[in-house]
């Protein structure tokens, strides 16, 4: 019996060993055998594989509000105008354009022979349809307000009291598109280059409803690339659009957008060479990547800031808010806690915002000096003085102010929260940290149902109004419930003038007020930190957080 037992055992073990060897040994030999034919089968197709995010929520230009979706739309569509590598406005579907003297009428002249990706003609009427569609409340375009609020009759259309076809856009002929504005808009060209206002194809939308934007066969676009395959959770394959007017400038045969959510997964895709560029790099890898020429840290238009709810009694006193701002060692937060993937923020408006009067808004702010001094020790001493002036003891041992700091748990939010606990303790504030799940966090913050919370904003276009107006008393994103009549007056002044110098001065004055009263607490400027192979040539990254691959090539 014993013999038989061991015999059977031996047999089973053998079976196992054989299956184990089967799965273990095969892959060792396989790569050479299976990858070689795949490469030789398609030698001509030059496909660039990149990762800029997981599945986009939507690729309907009117409905998109996300950066990753916006990045793909940039390659799929071409607006009236575009933004070039230097960040300047350049011709797009419109070859030339002009503005009336009063700044209220914009006329765009389309190029000859524009076509959709299915080969049909694209006319000015398509732009009329697309813009009306964004304004139509039934479309529920999240950016309608941002891009169209200056256009004649927009308010009536979005409120439902007028039909979308009453919007101030028209097409006097097939190649001319005219927009009438209610108020002059100094940055209207940026809006005309904004992905939300991409032309969309009326025929496919009316025939297929919402689902037109999820199937390659019904997805019609007008940009350098068009969708050929979309496997949700896996990839989107785009190929060069043969009907694009500037197709000769496009060198790639296609771009494959890997839809990866996990940064470790994207990192290994980069390391194995499956992707040549990845946006999501695991933060724990950052220290080891420093100095690597393929690792880039580029500033983008955005600020990581804190809201101190101005409806909370303790924060009604600007001295307390200012003290809390000064007690933060921004250098340490950005370079040590955030591993240099953020830049310390001494102003609210960081690098990249365009000053209406010319140049960089940040360099011209506060007479060229940062608002917050880089001397942390002096700041801390001043913070303690401010707390005392507000009637507190500022004693680290006996805190006499208790507050709750709320944040969601992702990225560096938790380590920043823990740091703030330490930092604010030094000026006698006892902080308890509350971690709130993301989907509950934003509505809670918007409702003002918190004391202190993290916040952040990434710009949609480089005009400073895009971010600075967040603190306007009636702004829907004024989560800090900041209400300062002087600030509102400065913003009103910036809106009512077309003179670039006056406008610039008003906007700078608005930032002066924010920083002087700590209307919010800027902590760090956002960057995009990413890996990009040196094999990719002719691409660029913009401060809007977009990568431009349309005219890129892969070097051998």
């Amino acid at each position: 019996m014993k013999k038989k037992a061991s015999l059977i055992a031996l047999f089973l073990v053998l079976c196992l060993v054989m299956t184990a060897c089967g799965s273990g040994a095969a892959p060792a030999a396989a790569p050479a055998a299976t990858t070689a034919p795949a490469e030789s089968a398609a030698p001509a197709a030059k496909i660039l594989t990149v990762q800029v995010g997981p599945d986009p929520e939507t690729l309907d230009p009117a409905l998109n509000s996300a950066v990753d979706g916006g990045n793909m739309l940039l390659h799929l569509y071409e607006c009236l105008l575009t933004v070039d590598q230097a960040g300047a406005i350049a011709p797009g579907a419109a070859e030339t354009w002009e503005c009336s003297e009063d700044g209220l009428t914009w006329t765009f002249h389309l190029r000859d022979g524009l076509k959709w990706s299915d080969g049909s003609d694209l006319t000015a009427q398509d732009f009329v349809y697309s813009w009306q569609r964004v304004a139509d409340p039934a479309t529920a375009a999240p950016y309608a307000d941002t891009v169209l609020s200056f256009v004649e009759n927009f308010d009536a259309v979005i409120n439902g009291s007028a039909k979308p076809d009453t919007l101030g856009v028209s097409a006097p002929d097939a190649k001319t598109f005219v927009v009438k504005l209610t108020n002059a808009c100094p940055y209207f060209e940026s809006l005309a280059a904004f992905a939300t206002l991409s032309p969309v194809n009326q025929k496919t939308i009316e025939a297929n409803g919402d689902s037109w934007a999820v199937k390659p066969e019904t997805y019609i676009s007008n940009g350098p690339f068009m969708i050929t395959e979309w496997v949700p959770g896996s990839h989107i394959l785009t190929s060069a659009n043969p009907n694009y007017w500037n197709k000769d400038a496009v060198k790639l045969d296609g771009i494959k957008w890997l839809l990866i959510e996990d940064s470790n997964a994207s990192y290994s895709a980069y390391q194995t060479g499956e992707a040549l560029m990845i946006k999501d790099v695991p933060t724990e890898e950052v220290p080891s990547l420093k100095g690597n020429p393929e690792f880039h840290v580029d500033p983008i238009l955005g600020t990581y800031y804190l809201n101190l709810n101005c409806n909370v009694d303790a924060f009604k006193d600007a001295n307390v808010r200012k003290a809390m701002s000064l007690a933060i060692d921004r250098e340490y937060v950005a370079n040590t806690l955030m591993q240099g993937t953020y830049l310390p923020a001494w102003n609210f408006m960081g690098p990249g915002w365009a000053d209406p009067a010319g140049g960089d808004f940040m360099s011209n702010a506060n007479g060229g000096k940062p608002y917050i001094s880089e001397d942390y020790e002096a700041n801390l001493a001043q913070a303690a003085e401010l707390m005392k002036a507000a009637g507190y003891k500022a004693d680290p041992e006996n805190p006499d102010l208790k507050i709750t700091y709320s944040t969601n748990d992702s990225g560096y939010h938790k380590v920043v929260a823990e740091y703030l606990q330490e930092a604010w303790k030094q000026i006698g504030i006892d902080v308890s940290v509350e971690i709130v799940e993301w989907a509950s966090f934003t509505p809670m913050r918007r409702a003002g149902d918190y004391q202190a919370a993290r916040n952040g904003w990434v710009g949609d276009y480089s005009d400073p109004s895009n971010m600075i107006e967040l603190l306007y008393s009636t702004n829907g994103n004024n989560d800090g419930k900041y209400n300062n009549p002087d600030f509102d007056a400065a913003i009103d002044a910036s809106r009512s003038t077309m003179d670039v110098k006056e406008r610039s001065a008003a906007l700078h004055q608005a930032e002066d007020i924010i920083m002087d009263t700590a209307g919010c607490v800027p902590v760090a400027y956002y960057t995009d930190f990413y890996l990009q192979s040196s094999k990719i040539v002719g691409s660029w990254h913009s401060p809007y957080g977009y990568w431009f691959f349309m005219f890129a090539d892969i070097a051998e």
Partner: protein, 305 residues
Amino acid sequence: MTRYIIKRLLMAILTVFIVATLTFFLMNAVPGGPYEAEKAISPQARAALEAKFGLDQPLFKQYLTYMKNILHGDFGPSLKQRGREVIDIIMSKFPVSAKIGGIAVMVAMLVGIPVGCIAALNRGKFSDSAIIVIATIGIAVPSFVVCSLSMYFFGVKLKWLPTVGLTTWKHYIMPVFALSFYPTAYIVRLMRSSMLDVLGQDYMRTARAKGVSWFVSLFKHALRNAILPIITYVGPMTAYTLTGSFIVEKVFTIPGLGGEFVSSITNRDYMMIMGTTIFLATLMVFINFLVDVVYKIIDPRINLS
């Protein structure tokens, strides 16, 4: 048997109904909604969206509408993945998960059962101890560690296996390994203890005394009895494995259903939460029913009614 099946079917419908009802009201009780983002959408856009998907109706009315619709097989559109129907998402993603999951279940059983038997038959010997140690590790190590380690060694360091997607058979190796790791270890331990229990039973001795060969006694008497607890475990395990794993799919970028269970909740995609929950509940109930039938086949003494 027919009466039993009808009874079970009615029970199944009731179970799924209760699960659906509870989920519907629980998910609506959680704060947040599908249209929350860092940047507030305009009140007009929000109102239009809510009207479009019926979210502006009183909750109980929404519930009645939803229940009426699913009776017609209409699971509604996803609130987040605009333009996609919930049923289409499930039907396109489930086969992907089920394929990897199915292979993983097979691997777990084909490896787990024999290895468990070997351990039991060699009780106390070195091979037994070695198997127990390995199986304990298998149970203790969480799947994200298995995923990350195998990805690091076989994908990044040795470059033997691809790490993204599911295009060739080689893409299947790591996800299947990661998915089957825990169930295999669990089955090994379960099989070993169950087998040891059976081997000590009187009927085994009787069978041997009657002259039944060792081989026959092992396969016909011992295995058949020892395998019952495995079936109990394999049933629900199969349902979970077929519907995909959030972690494995995330790490290896597999377009499966597992991720939808988690992301639908963080996105507050109410239609998707309901769809995935009802789908999993139905699958679970069905597999449990199958398990009961298989029980009856293996052990005729079990009285189903």
